[in-house]
Structure formats: C-alpha cells, structure tokens
Amino acid sequence: MTAASDLMDARQNPRFGTTSFSRVAALWALYILGLRQHLHGKRWMVITLLFLLPAVLVLVVRHTAHDVPPVNFEFVFVFMFIPQALLPLVALIYASGMIQDEQEEQTITYLLVRPSAKWAIYLVKLLATLTTTVCLTAIFTAITYVVIYAGAQSSAESIPLRCAKAILIHALAVITYCCLFGLIGLLSKRSLVIGILYIAIFEGLFANLAFGIRLLTVIYYTRLIAYRTLSFVTFTHGFPQNIAADAWQLDVMNDPQLLEHPQISTCLLVLLLASVFFAGLAALICSRREFHVKTPEKG
C-alpha cells in the first residue's frame, strides 16, 4: 500500500504538471473534444440546414404574404417556430447524444480511463453542448431577424435590441432543454422517443392550455419573459391587436398586467434552478453508474 502510494506520488512528475493544472488541462481537452464532436463532418451542415429553416420560410412568406407586417413574421417564426420546434429538437439532438453517442460508438472507454471524474466528464460535455447550442441559436436567430426585417419598414422599437432580447430568451430556453434532455439521455436508451413525446405533450400541448399544468413547461416561462420584455402589438387597419396574448392564452382582458403569472425574475429563477437541478442530478447519476460497452447491460 505504502509502496504503491510512493509510486503514485513519484508519478506526479513534470509531464503532468501540478495535479490541479493537469485536471483543468484534461477537462479543457474534453471540452474541446466535445465541441469538435458536435460540429465535425456533416453534422454542422445538417444543423445549419435545420436552423436556416425559419429564415427560408420567412423568405417564402415574405414573397407570398407581403401585406403581413414583419412583427407578425417575427412572432410566428422567432417566438413560435424556433422555441417550440427548433430549440427543443436541437437540444434533444445534442444533449441526449452527449453520452449515448459515445456509448453507441463505444468511444466512452477512452474518456473513462482518463483521470477525470465521471461527474466532471458529464458536466464538461454538457458545457460543450450548451456552448454549441447557444452559439448556434444566437447566430441563426440573428439571421432570422435579418431576413425578417431587411428592407421592411421597422417598428418603433430598435430591431437589434429586440434581436438581442430574443437571443437571450432562446439561450435560456435551450440551456434548460439541454439540461433536461441530457438527464433523459442518461436515464433511458430511448431518449429520442421520450424527448419527442415530452416536446409534443408538454411543450406542444400543455404549454398551450390556460391551466396550471403549463407551469411545468419551459416554453411558458420563456413566453412570459418575452411578453413582459417585448411588444407584440400589431395593427390591422388601425386597430391594435396583441398577437402574443391571443396565441399564448394570456388573459390580458381580465388581467392586463398578468399579475396572476410569474414575474420575469421568477421565470429566470425557475429556468436556471431547473437547469441546475437537471444538470446536478445527471452528474450525480453519471458518477454512480457503470457504462457498459462490451459487457451485457443486464441479464
């Protein structure tokens, strides 16, 4: 035992530097590897095509529905299509595959036999996933804004500011989705099916019901933040209409200030706490579980 410990201590040689430096270096390498995995080969092309979809659709509808004001396009594509379909889907693609892809490709062994704790491996991979998805979201949300507002008559509110707010809201949503789907990816091999069911039932159905159950959805909080920070009033022949309130089942007639709904700070707190909880739980599970590569998963 002592001999082994001595040997161990002797191994803290200059090749690895100090232990803390070497740990950070290992995790940094893992982070870079995670980023490269997310963007290598044809992957980025597929994701780019997916993210370009709203911009392409905007081009189509700008051509076919020229009398619809840009704020309507913005609402439909940036605040409906992207957060309801694209963000959860991209988060599902990336986050559920963080560990599962490594397991399916049988490359997880190369990570497990390195001097990084399993929980740290998970969190670093999650961080790489969050970086990738947030960057992609920011870039393509901005592109969508450009396509919507380029050459169109802009509203009074500053478009770059609206775009920045939208990017922040989307980033928040995608972070929560990634943390959630990362956890699901650890818990089940069928994470894609479970994820899709979650997206369809919770984010698609429950979020659009004017009942308390929508408090369990990510999109509800992001919608509230968007509603409270941006104006979605459009004019049809001189008459104002709040398209967000109608579409998001917010009863502004009886509760114009939306006092019955959470405030921005609460929404932010809920989403961040939920993300931390999902990530923490997943890291804990990761640190305790075995990853079977060649040996049978169960009897």
């Binding site: 529905a65 439909v76 299509f81 889907l89």
Partner: protein, 369 residues
C-alpha cells in the same frame, strides 16, 4: 494435395421458392422488436383508440335498433345532431366514415412513433455490424432483404391500423344486426386496408432509405423526427401566416366596421361579411399548397380521399338550420380541400426518392451475390 474451392458452398438440398424467403427476415425483426418493453407499451396504448372505435360502431348499431341498453349513453351524445340521432340508419355511412377517420388520424400519430421505434435500426445496425454478408451469403436477393425489412414495419403498422379497423368493422356489423350494411360500408373496410398499405409502403420505404444512409441508428431516428415533426410544424406555420394574409386581403375589400351611414344595418352587414369570409377561405383552401409541406398531412389527405370524409361532412352540414353556416362548418371541420392527388404525388415522389436511395448505398454489397 487437393485444393478445395474456398468460395460459397452451395446448399445441396432443395430450396424453397423466393416468394416467402423475406418472411424469415420479417419474423426475426418482429421478434427482436417485440422484445422492447417501450414498443409493447406503445402498441398497447395505440390499441386503446381501436377500442373506442369498436365501441362507437357497436353503440351506433344498437342505436339503429333503438336498444334500451344504450339509453344511458345517448344522454351523453349531446354533441351529435338530434336529427342524426333520430334517424341513425340514414346517417350510418357518414357516422362510420367519421369514426374511421378519427381513428385513423389518431393511429397515424402512433404509426409515426412506431416507425421511430422500429425503423431506424433496421438497416443501419446491419451496416454497423457488417451483418449484410450474413444475409447476402445466403440465397437471398436484394428485394428479399428489403421486403423482409419492410415486412417488419408493415407488421407493426398493420397491428395499429389494419387489424383494429377490421376487427372494429366486424364488431360494428355484428352489432348492427343487419348484414345489408356490408355493401354500404364495405368501401370503408377496403379504404382502411389500402390506407394501411399506403402508410406501410410510404413510411416503411422512407425509414429504410434513411436507415441505409447511416450506421448510427440515432441519427436515422433524428432524420425521421425531422421529417415528421419539423415538416408538420413548418406546414402549420406557413398555413398560419397564409391565414393572416387572407384575412388582411379580405379586410381590404370588406372592412370590419361598416361606414357610419350603414350603422343601422351593422349586424346584418357583419353577418354577411362573415359568410363572405367563410366562402373566401373555403375557396382559397382549394388551392392552398402549404399543407403539402407536412408529411403526415399528405398521408391524412389521401386517407380522407379514400374514406370520402369530405362528403360525410358535407352531408352533415346539410342538417344545419341556416345554409349560410355550411361554409363555416366545412372550414372548421373538414378540409383542407386541395386536390388529393397533389398529396398522392408528393408521397409518390418520396417513395421514388426512397427507392433510389435504397438502390445506391447498399449496392456495393451485391458483389457478394
């Protein structure tokens, strides 16, 4: 020293014909599929709508015979037009058609989930583990292999579309206690079976094509989700924007508020405007291509054409007390009304694309035969 041929050793016994060789692959695939607990759960849940369908047809049969057994149920059928309840036999075909329509709409969603569960690994896993030589070193042709794999999808889709429809149909016929019903409703049975085959061929070939493009079944599943989910949402968004555009275009010539001189007739004018709007929307619906973007909407459109759902809605709309409400009723419940063959062409195009895709990626492995 004799040198023996190291190549393929031909089976010296007698081989059966090619007709059923694919069945071995299908049987194996189904067995593997049924080992999944999640798949069994989805299958079970997807049979629940079939129970509702069978129940609805049986209730209608009893209603036709004015059976007292269903009196407690009739109280809850307030959503059905009283005239239909009074003459259930006269509206039998329409009610059956709509029951089958709602059932198939629900099962379409389950079919997509089943394809997601079963399909992605069908070819990709064979590619991943180099299992194709195991197939092609036997007297199997490419077509046998693909048919076998397609059979797996077909089995599961038939389990949720064709089998429950047929069972529900037979139950409905028995409960109606009137076998003259068969000629009247037989088209529904045939349509359901044909529709089941269309889903199997279309979705089956599509997922096989996707599965042959990657060795990673997760990516295949993601592609499938993209086609199903993203295409559906894109179509909805496009339709939403188009509706807004139509309302605005309509409002240009039909202002929401009449001029002050006509305020006395405001109510009548608003009513007339609504009627014109319904008519305008119905008219536009006939040429709106946007639903074609959605894969499931195309399948749905073909299903409605096969069952004749639109005719059923039209017949029910005749019961409305005010003729001016007919278009509104049709806009709300039936449609979209674009020609069904547009969707058929889209599905045919996807079918051709899938067949071409399947023809290329695995072609190199034919060297083994």
């Amino acid at each position: 020293m004799p040198i023996f041929d190291q190549g393929y050793q031909h089976w010296s016994g007698e081989l059966s014909g090619h007709a059923w060789r694919w069945l071995a692959i299908t049987r194996h695939g189904v067995r593997v599929g049924l080992k999944s607990k999640l798949l069994r759960i989805v299958l079970f849940v997807s049979w629940l709508p079939a129970l509702v369908l069978a129940g609805a047809l049986c209730v209608w049969g009893l209603l036709e015979h004015k059976s007292s057994m269903i009196d407690p149920i009739v109280q809850f059928m307030m959503f059905v037009n009283p005239q239909v309840l009074a003459e259930p036999r006269a509206y039998r075909l329409e009610v059956w058609t709509l029951c089958f329509h709602f059932f198939l709409q629900t099962e379409l969603r389950f079919s997509m989930i089943l394809v997601l569960l079963v399909g992605p690994s069908l070819i990709s896993q064979d590619l991943r583990f180099n299992a194709l030589p195991l197939y092609f070193s036997r007297p199997l042709r490419r077509i046998d292999y693909f048919l076998g794999k397609l059979g797996v999808i077909g089995f599961f889709l038939a389990m949720v579309t064709i089998v429950p429809s047929v069972v529900a149909y037979i139950l409905g016929v028995f409960f109606s206690m009137d076998f003259t019903i068969v000629p009247e409703t037989f088209r529904l049975l045939v349509s359901t079976v044909v529709y089941g085959l269309i889903i199997t061929l279309s979705a089956g070939l599509l997922i096989l094509a996707l599965s042959s493009l990657s060795r990673n079944s997760r990516y295949v599943a993601l592609f499938w989700i993209g086609i199903w989910f993203v295409s559906g949402i894109s179509a909805s968004v496009l339709q939403g924007v188009e509706r807004e555009h139509q309302l605005r275009s309509f409002a240009v010539h039909n202002p929401s508020f009449p001029p002050a001189s006509q305020w006395r007739d405001a109510r009548r004018l608003r009513e007339e405007r609504r009627v014109r709007l319904d008519s305008w929307q119905l008219q536009n619906s006939r040429t709106d291509w946007r639903p074609l973007v959605s894969y499931t909407e195309n399948l749905s459109r073909v299903e409605r054409a096969l069952l004749g759902t639109d005719n059923s809605w039209r017949k029910l709309s005749e019961l409305l007390p005010d003729d001016r409400d007919v278009n509104h009723f049709l806009v709300d419940y039936a449609g979209p009304f674009y020609p069904w063959y547009w969707s058929a062409l889209v599905l045919l195009g996807l079918f051709g694309l899938s067949a071409c895709t399947l023809n290329f990626p695995i072609k190199s492995l034919d060297r083994l035969r």
